[in-house]
Amino acid sequence: MIQMQLPVNTAVVSAPAEAALLSVRGLHVWFELRRWGFGHAGYVRAVDDVSFDLRQGEAVAIVGESGCGKSSLMRAILGLHRPTRGEVVFRGQTVSAFNARDLRAYRAQVGFVQQDPFGALPPFMTVARILEEPLLINGVKDPAERAARVRKALEEVKLSPVGDFLPKFPHMLSGGQQQRVVIARAMILEPRLIVADEPVSMLDASVRVEILRLLRGLQETHNLAVIYITHDLSTVRYFAERIFVMYAGRLIEKAGVDDLLQTPRHPYTHALLAATSDPDAHNATVFKEVPPGEPPSLVKPPPGCRFHPRCAQAIAGRCDEHVPPEFAPQPGHAVACWLHEGPDAPA
């Protein structure tokens, strides 16, 4: 019976592969565990069969809890981890096949915005030097051109007057200003893709919105593709067109933002949404519904659907034995959950 079900092609969800800027295909990132330094002791399956396409100019959010593998996925996309299986394809070329020079050219096209701005900036370099570094590495030889591009990058992230910021060291800046410098550094080589790893989680609420708007503005003016990695669903709406929900190494639901927030399909997505509060005094009068237990070990993930031990709607003999393929309850919405198999699945 199971084999009769044709898994939905991911092409339904995303643009056709040839139009994709970035294409992640069957990506596995496993880390080997060793006993006594040489004996094999299994794998940490941080990313386990992840596929998606990203078009130029498109912003997606990858939402998941800590330890779900979202950082490993991000590092594989940045070319920092070699995939165990599967591939990351950027503009038709496989990232893991790049040699050192290709990789440098690739990284010039992919900007990275780190989570902790202070940790991401070298403490002994001035802002001017920090921003000049990528230009030097990528062979921009004319000092006047470098200086002009540094100024332009600072203007773009709205650190003005630019002259005031150039000679400053990171510790002299506020958290929001530091994050702007990190964004300027990611933007200075005019990348096509920005990967932002929890770019606002270390910042105060009032600054968060400012930084998200800045990123959104840059994305629109430069037609950038953006991968926004976060655990906070409430900020996603203002930033991304699509959301991918990640659980225990897999993308379990992919949909447009409004679609996912209004009609979440996967029980885990439901749980995430229910656990996210809006400020409302009524919250204090009710208990939240939270699925029992904790995310599974990525060394020995549960068989079948990885969420089934915590899922109230798990179907015995199905969810605990067979890995759910992606079903499409509606066009553009993919969900890896047996509840959505077939036409009469619950909405």
Partner: protein
């Protein structure tokens, strides 16, 4: 006069001596709260909210320049007590703390059960066996399996460690627990779990809470009342229903408008400008440089205005 408040703070000041000059982290805070009440102290980083907790619990660093004012706990002025007496009879007996980063505040070489039992042995002269029995009871309250008593902190997940820290604050049945950012480093589901634990503790035990946080959405999970802190001072105190529906102080309003919401399409807005440095505070209203409603009077220090049971430190309401 009989004091009906559990905690009453009068003109509390805590200033630090630093290379940049005097940092006025807590600068004239007045505040009171009742029994079995949960008060949220809201503020952005650097507003002095963690220092307020330190001042109340008298956990002072060495570079204190000024520490003054009065703190009444259940009618008794605990500021006047000698340090030894405060430690023996107040801290962790009448009030305790769940520190920020409970992840790292647990002792890595002690079993968590022993750590939770320790306050009982230190303050109540209880034998280890009874203290561990009490710890086991607390684990039940916060939803930690009893066999975790034998584990070490590194063997627990973030959520479990936070529960252990809460159990440790509860073990002596204090009247008041201060929680400093108890959920800010946790995942959404874990956060929801911890807030459930706190709600249950609030229902089942005669405990009051001061929850210090910058996370407005999560704070609404527990708050009976909300106090908003800005630049070392409390600028608004209000009951939670009215606060979340309609905050009074311009800063509170801006803060509420900055929260991204899941269930509304209203776009969040940011607050222009930066909070002032606590070592270089502006005269008059400290929010005035960022306030859209600023007028001539704001150059003078605003009074605290009482308005139908709410307090707001703002000339607009005077």
């Amino acid at each position: 006069m009989q004091d009906t408040a559990l905690l009453r703070i009068e003109d509390l000041k805590l200033h630090f001596r630093t290379a940049q000059g005097t940092v006025r982290a807590v600068d004239g805070v007045n505040f009171q709260m009742g029994f079995r009440e949960a008060v949220v102290v809201l503020g952005e980083s650097g507003c002095g909210k963690s220092s307020l907790a330190k001042a109340v619990l008298r956990l002072l660093p060495r570079n204190v320049q000024t520490y003054s004012g009065r703190v009444f706990l259940d009618g008794a002025d605990v500021m006047r007590l000698a340090e030894a007496e405060f430690r023996q009879n107040v801290r962790w007996v009448r009030m305790s703390l769940v520190p920020q980063a409970a992840m790292t505040s647990l002792n890595p070489v002690l079993k968590v059960g022993d750590q939770v039992a320790e306050p009982m042995m230190a303050h109540y002269n209880v034998g280890k066996k009874d203290a561990l029995g009490q710890a086991r009871k607390m684990f039940q309250h916060v939803g930690v399996p009893a066999d975790f008593l034998e584990r070490y902190a590194f063997e627990l997940s973030g959520g479990m460690r936070q529960r252990v820290a809460i159990a440790m604050s509860l073990v002596t049945s204090p009247a008041l627990i201060l929680l400093d950012e108890p959920t800010s480093a946790l995942d959404v589901l874990t956060q929801a779990n911890i807030m459930n634990v706190l709600k249950r503790v609030k229902q089942q035990m005669e405990t009051s809470f001061i929850l210090i946080t910058h996370d407005i959405a999560t704070s609404s999970e527990l708050a009976d009342r909300v106090a908003v802190m800005y630049a070392g001072q409390i600028v608004e105190v209000s009951d939670a229903p009215r606060f979340f529906a309609e905050p009074l102080h311009p800063y509170s309003r801006k803060l509420m408008a900055s929260v991204p919401r899941l269930r509304s399409t209203q776009a969040p807005e940011f607050i222009a400008g930066r909070p002032p440095s606590l070592s270089d505070l502006p005269g008059g209203c400290r929010f005035a440089p960022r306030c859209p409603h600023r007028f001539a009077k704001c150059d003078q220090d605003p009074p605290v205005v009482e308005q139908a049971g709410r307090q707001v430190k703002c000339w607009l309401h005077a």
